[in-house]
């Protein structure tokens, strides 16, 4: 009824003030337009897509979490009020804060934390590697993740850098679920997985009102949220596929925030009154990789040649303008140890010389690209430059799943794609770009980018393994700098650019946070 009145009032105003006036969203409601068709589940143990991460971050609290108003500070206590690390560095004991409640009204206990983390390991869904990389598995999880009174202790197989472990717990999979509610909805021993796909059992600033796939997600504010009731009583995330549509709706005042505008529409929307654009550096990297099982591509000179066939400056100044910045290292800027050395630039002559040196001539290669406009443009620009250096590139364009299948099976000569970090620690990228313990076909390490490109990383695998257990932050950063320097020169990866997210919004929207490079969007701090 309330909703109804609200809407009638809004419509009434719009009608009364005539056709020229802008419609306006209600003052305590945030309407966000973005693409959410990649969301396939809301279960934190399973969710692994961008849109799902956004929703999850607002619904589930974690042991430790980021403050959207102070992201630079790194993780802060949330459900865990404090933690201690054992002498040998393999045990972290969290003390659970008192007085926190789930949306259901159940208190948050150590038992819920134990259940949530064990559950993520036992369900063994795609993102489970974020936890299982610490040595947790179905057999030992009862011992390695253990509640005792109001504390939870996790025991890792190696003395990993504590920041690495804690950073991993800020990922979506670290979301704490309401054990009682979830187990009440268990079917056939699935630990509530089926139910949690479309329902939520969290304790965060918002609870889920509805999720209509590829249409909208509606969140309702949690009045009992521990940081205080959010100003936006309702958040609606509306699926709008086209950038032009998002822009029109923003200009019309039908929405508050548009999150997928392309550079042309960003430029256009800035000309409209009452709209601003807020830039955030994201962790996503655009790269292309050369399959090392191809005889020509495995030659070091050829690998280097390709790094000179990309028009880094030209692209980031034209069709990627404002949305990507040149980055030629596998760690995105703002990550611990991220290098800012970008030595390569478009140099056809140099590439030709390198190719000649390698004795390669008349190369014809297949490039797999996903059907997405910016990637197609990058691919065509690359194709154009390669042609000038005497390399013929055939583009194979397909849907994400199609191209990905070929990539994982090592079937493509060249793959052009994007990579986003899974959790805010340098190991997330180092562990996939520069880490490949067994390069054999039988190893089927399809989750590792180095393996997908049949690249035996040489010494980088062991260097990566030692960096991740270095507890001294400065030394750790130096180790990564070292790995990146070698990677730049020897790897078959041509890292091109890092994403900048341009969120366009009404002028009155303040404190909106897309989560930068380390986490997802959050809404509780937004006012307007």
């Amino acid at each position: 009824m309330m909703k109804h009145l609200l809407a009638s009032a809004a419509f009434g105003i719009a009608v009364m003030s005539g056709p020229a006036a802008f419609a306006e969203t209600p003052p305590n409601m945030l309407v966000v337009a973005m693409r959410i068709d990649d969301m396939i589940t809301l279960d934190p143990a399973e969710s692994f897509e961008f849109a799902g991460g956004d929703v999850s971050r607002n619904i589930y609290m974690k042991l430790v979490n980021f403050d959207p108003l102070d992201l630079d500070a790194g993780f802060k206590p949330e459900i865990a009020e404090s933690w201690t690390i054992s002498e040998d560095g393999t045990q972290i004991t969290f003390t659970i804060a008192e007085g926190l409640k789930f949306h259901s009204g159940n208190p948050i206990t150590a038992e819920d934390v134990e259940f949530s983390l064990q559950r993520a390991v036992l369900l063994n869904k795609t993102p489970s590697f974020i936890l299982t990389q610490f040595g947790f598995n179905a057999d030992n999880v009862a011992e390695t993740i253990k509640a005792d009174g109001n504390t939870v202790t996790i025991t890792t197989d190696k003395p990993y850098a504590a920041s690495f472990v804690l950073n991993c717990l800020t990922a979506t999979i670290g979301g704490i679920v309401d054990k009682q509610l979830v187990m009440a909805n268990e079917v056939d021993g699935d630990m509530g997985n089926e139910w949690l796909k479309t329902n939520t059992a969290g304790s965060g600033a918002y609870s889920l009102a509805s999720w209509k796939p590829s249409d909208s997600v509606t969140l309702t504010a949690n009045a009992d949220y521990y940081r205080g009731a959010p100003a936006m009583k309702r958040v609606i995330i509306k699926h709008v596929q086209e950038s032009a549509s998002q822009r029109l709706q923003l200009e019309k005042g039908d929405i508050d925030v548009a999150r997928n505008l392309n550079p042309e529409d960003v430029a256009g929307v800035l000309k409209a009154d009452g709209v601003k654009v807020v830039d955030e550096l994201k962790g996503r990297l655009m790269y292309l990789s050369l399959n090392q099982s191809h005889p020509a591509l495995s030659k070091p000179e050829v690998r280097q040649a390709f790094k000179y066939l990309i028009d880094y400056e030209g692209m980031t100044n034209s069709f990627l303008k404002g949305q990507y910045t040149v980055q030629q290292n596998f760690l995105p800027q703002t990550y611990l140890g991220a290098s800012s050395e970008n030595p390569f630039s478009l140099d056809i002559e140099k590439a030709k010389a390198l190719l000649a040196e390698a004795g390669v001539d008349g190369l014809e290669l297949t490039v797999g690209v996903r059907e997405a406009q910016e990637r197609l443009e990058i691919a065509q620009s690359f194709q154009n430059n390669a042609a000038e250096a005497g390399i013929k590139l055939n583009l194979t364009v397909g849907t994400g799943k199609q191209i990905l299948g070929q990539y994982r099976a090592r079937e493509l000569d060249i793959y052009l794609g994007a990579w986003g970090p899974d959790y805010p620690d340098p190991h997330t990228n180092a562990g996939t770009f520069a880490f490949n313990p067994d390069n054999s076909l039988e190893a089927k390490a399809t989750g590792l980018l180095a393996w997908r490109n049949a690249w035996d990383t040489g010494g980088l695998t062991s260097k990566t393994a030692s960096a991740v257990i270095e507890n001294d932050t400065e030394k750790r950063a130096a180790l990564y700098d070292d790995i990146q320097a070698e990677f730049r020169e020897t790897s078959p990866f041509v890292i091109m650019a890092q994403q900048i997210e341009q969120n366009a919004m009404q002028d009155d929207v303040t404190n909106f946070s897309g989560g930068q490079a380390i986490t997802s969007a959050s809404y509780w701090q937004v006012t307007k």
Partner: protein, 304 residues
Amino acid sequence: MTDATWKDWLLSDAPRSRGQARLAGLYQGWLKLSRNWMAMVGLGILVVLVMVAMFAPLLAPHDPFAQDLLLRLKPIGFEDHLLGTDSLGRDILSRLIYGSRITLYIVALVTLIAPVVGLLVGTVAGYLGGFVDATLMRITDVFLAFPRLVLALAFVAALGAGIENAVLAISLTAWPPYARMARAETLTIRNSDFIAAIRLQGAGPLRILVKHIWPLCLSSLIVRITLDMAGIILAAAGLGFLGLGAQPPSPEWGAMISEGRRFILDHWWVATLPGLAIFTVSLAFNLLGDGLRDVLDPKDGGSQ
């Protein structure tokens, strides 16, 4: 012979040979068609299209693939880019000109596949009847019942994106109506006296089908093909629009719209020009097809 005698010969009331009769029929049809100004406009556009496709290298002011990131999204009439440039700074006019080749290629290939398959299935089903008829017609029904674009999409997805596969997919969705039509025609011809007479002379079913039934189905088939062309071009453009047709950097018109739609608010011409090109060619086929129908299939009701 002079022009006048040619005309007399063609319009003669008493043709002396079968060839003369046939040519005379065609000529009279042409005379009728040429009185339909709309069909003539359609034909004119198509002739221009063929010429443009043939002489594309001479007509195009630029290389359709040459990029210039500094000159991207320039408006109509910018320097020597008559119709502006696209997102990668390629000349739109040149791309449209080369794109006409792709359009013609699609049209030609589909015409070679769909009606032939349809004719084969339809006439065989109609002539043989019985179990063969039932089976073939059920298969036809299955393909008819498919949502057309979804079927085409599925095939392209199965075969991989690309122009040839798009053509194949469109053909697969386009043949059932031809089969139905050919079957209906065959059913009416099958029991006619002249077929019975031929059969008495000892002609086998294959001979009867190929030499006697197919030619009779031809005129309605041609009308149908011409009217279908627009649909085929639009379907190909739709696949291109969804990224499943021609692969970049190919200047296929549907793909050009798809590329340009991102700029529709500030750089409308990038998507609009290929849209207009598709519209013009489709309309031309429709105008011609409509006129042809008046000539070849008058019972459907023409304007004259």
